[in-house]
């Protein structure tokens, strides 16, 4: 029986992308603008970097505010995504971006005891 090992997705911000080339990540940020072709988004991450996200399919709806993308790191500021979560405005307004960034930085800085 073949074991299907799923590599855990790491939550990253803009700066951490470089360290996870080719690996699955979750990245969240505020949408700066969407490309007219409908499959590309510019995202401002919580550490104030601009990251380009490329979707497989065009967006069904206009994206704005806080969005989280799951995907694979293609370059130091590009991610190809196959799934996204768009948060309602109540979330966006009350979300503490700085705190989130700190948490994500810590996550990446400290070795995770639950994943050896």
């Amino acid at each position: 029986m073949e074991e299907h090992v799923i590599e855990p997705r790491v939550r990253v911000n803009g700066g951490a992308l470089a360290r996870h080339m080719g690996r699955p990540v979750s990245i969240m940020g505020t949408v700066l603008n969407t490309h007219p072709n409908g499959i590309s988004v510019e995202l401002k991450t919580t550490d104030n970097q601009v990251v380009t996200v490329r979707m497989q399919e065009p967006f069904q709806e206009p994206l704005s505010g806080l969005v989280e993308f799951h995907g694979t790191v293609q370059g130091k500021n590009t991610v190809s995504s196959d799934f996204y979560l768009s948060f309602p405005p109540e979330f966006t307004n009350n979300f503490d971006l700085e705190q989130y960034n700190e948490a994500v930085t810590l996550l990446n800085a400290i070795s995770n005891p639950w994943i050896s």
């Binding site: 503490d96 705190q99 948490a103 800085a109 400290i110």
Partner: protein, 609 residues
């Protein structure tokens, strides 16, 4: 030279009556070595022509007249001022002693030269003792022994106000010397407290006394309690003497004195209306409200603040005494821009008028922590002044009127505040709380946890309670349509439903069973107890309520305490508050700090892990 002695004066005076300016003859005197104030006392043998009195004490301010010889034997004097007091005498019971305060010399002993009249000793015999060396019943007053010593000389006063007696400073009072008089103002007076225990019944009241040198607490029991309670008024000055001194029990008072005193059957208290300006009035040592949060529970402090808001009078039944108590909570604020809840009781609570935002100054209030913030509460020994005429009060008024009324103050009494320091104290994971053995000491421990409701037990979640407003005791179903409440000792045709939930809470570290009472239970279930009770007949809907409550996450304030239940010690955890998560910002910040500390990052000192 026809000198007429006031015959019969002595017997009148010694029987407790008054004679104005009696004329007597001095037939002898004896010096009694002084107390530690260094003054000698003279005891005179006087005659009114009919009787002798060997126990007339001379007030010390007249001592020089004896030593100079002006009051030598046979001198006839008119006693212009005197007082009498009762002295307990070990052999002969009580005796009245006269203290001569002022005299006018009518004729010197040298001029008179002989005993006038034929005075006889008073019939009780003791008077007969001449001013001789042996006094079987009267010890020398020098020995600094405690109250076993009952000396004859006694400056305490009863019948008439005598202002110029020697008074001692409160700071000099000690158990080793008990011939003193103090002139002090009553700054606080407690109500009469009665009790009944295995040893019988008792009653007492206590008071705080102050003079220029210090303060001291005094308590009167039983007969003295009855004798003095009505007479003693707060803020009045009294001359007090003959109390027993002992080491102070600091638990019951905040007064700064190593000693406290108890009234005895000899204690004398007399109002003093002269020369009272020197005696200070009530002094306060205020703690700013912002500092209260940092003090320990049960500490006694003085506070002052402007009443920003006040609650309604609430009636509650004391669990211990089953008596009805009235209380009112008011919020006071000060220039530290913090506010605290002050609890008033009884008539003080009922009469309080908060609408004018008065300045309240309270002495001897106790800090309480109630699983949330810190608040202060008036005690029996507390004193409350409304709008006192003091500089601090005026400054507060000025601050409040200009700034404080409109500004927001941080409320350290926590219950309503979002960032109430009380609610957010002591964050733990459930496992941490268990590992740290919270609740296993004498006092309950409080902690805060973010946890999820795993399951709410639906069996035995509701009970029928007494319909009376403040009574929540479970009623007994008489099965005849009536329900009996043991606490109120009454039967009712109705009841109210109340919730008592057993819930299992869990977080990543572990789980914990806890109890929720009515308020928190209603939050968790999202229904009122009464409505849930009405659903009882529809089991499906009833169970649905409990199902829906599961897997909701809250911030819980929990109270852990070891309770002794039928000889078994069990750790009981209660939910005192359940709050929705909100933004979690504070919690997140705390977690980040903890992580940094543990990992050794950032500006904190790394844990040794």
């Amino acid at each position: 030279m026809s000198l007429k002695l006031t015959e019969g004066a002595i017997s009148v005076i010694l029987a407790g009556g008054n004679v104005d300016e009696p004329v007597v003859q001095i037939l002898g005197h004896k010096k009694l070595a002084g107390t530690n104030t260094g003054s000698d006392r003279f005891r005179l043998l006087i005659s009114d022509g009919r009787h002798l009195n060997g126990f007339a004490m001379l007030a010390t301010q007249l001592n020089n007249q004896v030593t100079s010889g002006e009051l030598c034997d046979f001198t006839v004097v008119q006693i212009t001022r005197y007082i009498t007091s009762m002295v307990a005498n070990s052999e002969k019971g009580e005796r009245r002693v006269m203290v001569i305060l002022d005299v006018k010399i009518l004729a010197s002993g040298n001029e008179v030269g002989f005993k006038l009249g034929n005075p006889k000793p008073m019939t009780d015999g003791a008077e007969a003792e001449a001013v001789g060396p042996q006094q079987a019943v009267h010890n020398k007053t020098v020995q600094p022994k405690p109250t076993a010593n009952r000396p004859a000389s006694n400056v305490s006063v009863l019948s008439s106000p005598g202002g110029s007696v020697n008074t001692h400073p409160i700071s000099s009072l000690s158990p080793y010397q008990n011939k003193w008089v103090i002139k002090a103002r009553v700054t606080a007076k407690s109500p009469v407290r009665t009790w009944a225990n295995a040893r019988g019944e008792g009653k007492l009241f206590s008071m705080d006394l102050i003079d220029e040198t210090g303060e001291i607490r005094a308590t009167a029991f039983k007969e003295q309690c009855d004798k003095f309670f009505d007479m003693i008024e707060v803020n009045k000055v009294y001359l007090i003497s003959r109390c027993v001194l002992k080491t102070a029990n600091k638990k019951f008072t905040n007064i700064k004195n190593d000693y406290e005193m108890t009234f005895t059957s000899d204690t004398q208290v007399i109002p003093c209306n002269e020369d009272t300006a020197g005696i200070p009035t009530l002094t306060f040592d205020f703690t700013p409200i912002s500092a209260l949060a940092g003090l320990e529970s049960n500490a006694i402090v003085d506070v002052i603040g402007v009443c920003k808001s006040s609650g309604e009078v609430q009636t509650l039944i004391s669990r211990n005494t089953n008596k009805e108590l009235k209380k009112r909570e008011v919020m006071i604020v000060d220039q530290s821009n913090t506010g605290v809840t002050l609890t008033l009781w009884g008539t003080q609570a009922e009469d309080f008028e908060g609408s004018t935002n008065p300045v309240l100054a309270a002495k001897n209030v106790r800090i309480n922590e109630y699983g949330g913030g810190k608040s202060v509460s008036l005690l029996q020994s507390s004193v409350l002044q409304i709008n006192p005429d003091t500089p601090q009060a005026h400054k507060l008024r000025g601050w409040f009127d200009s700034v404080g009324a409109t500004q927001e103050q941080e409320n350290i009494s926590g219950r309503t505040g979002v960032a109430g320091s009380g609610f957010s104290a002591n964050w733990m994971t459930l496992k941490e709380a268990q590992e740290n053995q919270l609740g296993c000491g004498d006092k309950p421990d409080y902690f805060t946890s973010v946890a999820t409701v795993l399951i709410v037990r639906s069996e035995n979640s509701l009970y029928k309670a007494c319909p009376t407003e403040d009574c929540n005791k479970k009623v007994i179903d008489q099965n005849n349509g009536m329900y009996r409440c043991e606490k109120c000792n009454r039967e009712y045709p109705n009841f109210k439903y109340r919730l008592l939930l057993s819930v299992s809470l869990g977080d990543f570290s572990g789980n914990q069973w806890a109890t929720c009472f009515q308020d928190t239970a209603e939050i968790l279930l999202g229904v009122k107890a009464q409505d849930l009770g009405d659903l009882f007949h529809d089991d499906r809907q009833f169970q649905e309520v409990f199902h829906k409550a599961a897997f909701k996450t809250y911030i819980f304030r929990l109270r852990a305490k070891m309770e002794n239940y039928q000889e078994e010690n069990r750790l009981k955890v209660t939910v005192t508050e359940a709050r929705s998560l909100g933004t979690m910002q504070e919690h997140n910040a705390r977690l980040i700090t903890e992580i940094k500390e543990m990992a050794g990052i950032g500006n904190s000192v790394p844990y040794g892990n």
